[in-house]
């Protein structure tokens, strides 16, 4: 019954509920209005059912998020899922965020395929309902952001939800900046308020309990890639570590900043420089290198190789719908490297002229598979047929301790890509290259077989535990 409400009705009920809360104790009027609304709704529904039964399969963006709908229905006494939201309480984003992902998927996605994948369906409306939407910026009466979400994180999440293509490294940098701002602004304000009934809670726990809702928000806005997840892990680990105990607020913040900077410097920036050097050694003079995908990492690596004096040619292969290879093409041409460009349709032709394929990875998995931009699996297949070695550049912080064999994997992601209102585009964002197709992985610990990723992960774990023991 509840699902047959059309979008407009839901919004009306929402507004009515909100106004009711704002108005307050004028109980009788509220009841009367609601009864009226109920009647109108029934009439409208009858009309609609006569008109077009096809309209039930309406596309995604019109549905509002479930919770206010439930709240409104609950106030009317319609039987449904019961969740008590007292009338005087403003809409708490935390509760909005607690809606389960699968619930969203089933409600929002009209396509029954790939619902197990992470997706951001309906997120734009959730954000709007929370009061961060573009249109609602200056309207009053909508919730002020309760203390939970930091403004930098909100900005980041909002941008991420509205972008159709995201460069993974740039997102990681933005997240880093947002986290730095968050750490700066963290001041233990909520120390006493919420946790009054508990005994003294340490700064560490307080920090983490304040960080968690922010991270949840970001991961709803756009499923986090491995590099971003790693950043968050580093911050959390630093906050929980033994070294962070018994520090006062300023020292704690400084410590976190230091850890974050150190991580970024050593495992991201320096790692990239080392990888660029190794790649330079692998590209021989007058050879042709094929690259795929949208990472600016590869651009920097090739620029460095060219600056160090290698003469080589690059073939950039690109796919729809975002054609992000065009930016790569532009940057490489500006760096003075001879470049050719082709979409993936011309791949087998271009492969005949290639000496080596070098692609950037988003993540390297424990069984040796490589997670990259969609389409890279095809490139690896064709390269294998033509006996062209496939090299993958990946820093060690992106190594992940799970396994996947192909792109139909639970951690993959579908992103909305509107074409027109009749077509839903299953825009699967990432692809998985099976381990057997990858010749070698270029990392800052050297050139390793991609299957050795698991050993590197376990060695790093071992070293971290050793260090943790030493500092006790």
């Amino acid at each position: 019954m509840t699902k047959e409400l059309s979008a407009k009705e839901k919004k009306k009920l929402e507004k009515a509920a909100r106004r009711a809360k704002v108005v307050g104790d004028k109980g009788v009027d509220v009841e009367a209005k609601k009864a009226e609304a109920m009647r109108k709704k029934e009439e409208a529904m009858k009309k609609k059912q006569e008109e077009a039964p096809v309209r039930q399969a309406s596309p995604v963006p019109k549905a509002a998020s479930p919770v206010p709908q439930v709240a409104a229905l609950q106030a009317e006494g319609v039987p449904g899922r019961t969740r008590k939201i007292s009338e005087s309480q403003s809409i708490d984003p935390r509760r909005l965020l607690k809606t389960t992902k699968t619930q969203q998927s089933q409600v929002e996605l009209t396509e029954p395929l790939f619902t197990y994948m992470r997706n951001t369906a309906g997120i734009k409306d959730t954000i709007q309902t929370m009061g961060f939407g573009r249109k609602d910026m200056f309207s009053r009466g909508i919730t002020k952001n309760p203390t939970q979400l930091h403004r930098a994180i909100v900005r980041l999440g909002f941008k991420a939800a509205h972008l159709s293509k995201i460069d993974e490294r740039e997102m990681a940098e933005k997240l880093k900046r947002a986290l730095e701002l968050f750490i700066d602004d963290f001041d233990g304000r909520n120390f006493n308020d919420e946790l009054k009934q508990h005994h003294r809670v340490s700064i560490q726990q307080n920090f983490i309990s304040e960080l968690n809702p922010n991270i949840n928000f970001i991961s709803k806005c756009h499923p986090m890639t491995r590099s971003e997840a790693c950043l968050v892990d580093i911050v959390k680990e630093a906050a929980r570590s033994r070294q962070a105990r018994d520090k006062n607020l300023a020292e704690f913040k400084e410590f976190l900043h230091e850890e974050l900077q150190l991580f970024w410097k050593m495992r991201v920036d320096e790692a990239e420089a080392t990888i660029a050097n190794e790649t330079f050694n692998l590209i021989t003079d007058n050879s042709t290198v094929l690259t795929f995908g949208d990472g600016m990492n590869m651009v920097r690596i090739f620029e460095k190789a060219s600056r160090l004096g290698r003469k080589f040619e690059v073939i950039v292969v690109d796919t729809e719908p975002s054609f992000s290879g065009k930016r790569v093409l532009q940057c490489l041409t500006e760096a003075g490297i001879q470049t050719k460009y082709s979409t993936i349709a011309g791949l087998s032709y271009m492969m005949k002229q290639t000496d080596v394929v070098i692609i950037g990875a988003r993540s390297l998995l424990a069984n040796g598979s490589v997670v990259g931009a969609k389409g890279c699996g095809t490139v690896a297949c064709v390269a294998n047929e033509d006996q062209v070695p496939v090299l993958v550049c990946c820093e060690t912080y992106k190594f992940e301790d799970r396994c996947a064999i192909n792109a139909l994997d639970i951690k993959n992601e579908i992103r909305e890509f509107p074409i027109n209102e009749h077509i839903t585009f299953a825009n699967i964002v990432q692809d998985v290259i099976p381990a057997s197709l990858v010749t070698a992985a270029i990392t800052e610990v050297g050139i390793i077989a991609s299957t050795s990723a698991a050993t590197v992960i376990s060695e790093n774990e071992r070293k971290r535990k050793d260090i943790a023991f030493e500092t006790t």
Partner: protein
């Protein structure tokens, strides 16, 4: 960097050459290289710090790599690198107990000797591990001559699991011909049919073979194997006929390099005489190697990378 004194250099070179020539026990050249390095620690009188000692050893290693007497340069390289790695590991271990330089040196010599003694047993262990992979009444194809493979076959013959042995004959004469002849005579005296076949006939014979055995000069990080020329062809043929290819080698032959093509394998491992003449070694890619049978047990090619990372990063 302090250079090895000239006299020391000559002494070590002679030591090495003598040991190679008087190799009655058929010890691998890699182990002889390790013994030379140990000797270098013993005769070293002028270094006063650990770092100096390690530098000296590095120079000796380079010296050994340049000696032209042996065709097996790959194993010398990997063996000496491994010994140096063990040395550094041993030093950091010893330093926990005492930091007196002389005591450290003594302890180092002790442990070095122990280490070499363990290495000498590697071949035996690999040979023993191999026995479980010989099926009943096995018909076996061996390509190239390797002492480890020869020992493995001898043991299998003693255990009565072999039916017949095909040994390929290389088209050019090599230094191992004599030893190979002796080995084959031994096996046929033990009552097993032995055939010496031309390399060209390997594809013809593959349908009646159960197991292919290769020796290895060196094993690179991806699990690919550098062994005598023709191994690549034999492995491809075995792959088409779905026959297992086992490589018997000791774990000190694992090398930290990553050639992806034949051209990327270093010249030293392929040619004896600059790059004139025919190559004597080639690279068999990891996908054609079923298992590497080593003193550590039976390893898949992927495990080589694991082992090397653990060894060199710990």
């Amino acid at each position: 960097m302090p250079a090895v004194a000239d006299t020391d250099e000559k002494m070590l070179k002679n030591f090495f050459v003598k040991k190679i020539e008087n190799n009655t026990e058929q010890v691998q050249s890699a182990i002889i290289a390790m013994e030379t390095l140990l000797e270098a620690i013993k005769i070293d009188k002028s270094s006063t710090t650990i770092m100096e000692l390690i530098d000296r050893l590095g120079n000796v290693r380079k010296l050994l790599a340049d000696i032209d007497i042996v065709p097996q340069k790959a194993s010398i390289k990997s063996g000496s690198e491994l010994f140096l790695r063990f040395t550094t590991m041993m030093i950091s271990d010893i330093m926990h107990q005492s930091s007196d330089f002389d005591k450290v040196k003594e302890a180092l010599i002790d442990r070095g000797a122990q280490c070499i003694a363990t290495m000498k047993l590697c071949r035996e262990k690999a040979v023993r591990h191999f026995q479980t992979f010989v099926p009943e009444s096995a018909r076996v194809l061996i390509h190239g001559y390797s002492r480890a493979v020869a020992d493995a076959i001898r043991l299998a013959a003693v255990n009565g699991r072999l039916k017949c042995v095909y040994q390929t004959k290389l088209s050019t004469a090599s230094t191992d011909d004599e030893e190979r002849g002796k080995f084959l005579k031994e096996i046929s005296d033990a009552g097993i049919e032995c055939y010496e076949v031309l390399s060209e006939s390997v594809a013809y014979l593959m349908e009646r073979i159960d197991v292919v055995i290769l020796g290895a000069e060196a094993v690179v990080e991806s699990g690919s194997v550098i062994s005598s020329i023709g191994s690549y062809g034999v492995a491809i043929t075995a792959d088409v006929h779905k026959k297992p290819v086992y490589v018997i080698c000791e774990s000190f032959k694992f090398m930290r390099s990553y050639p992806m093509k034949q051209m990327e394998v270093e010249q030293d491992h392929k040619y004896t005489d600059g790059d004139k003449g025919h190559p004597i070694g080639d690279l068999t890619p990891a996908k054609f190697v079923t298992l590497l049978i080593t003193d550590l047990g039976a390893l898949t090619p992927a495990a080589v990378g694991h082992h090397l990372i653990q060894l060199y990063s710990g």
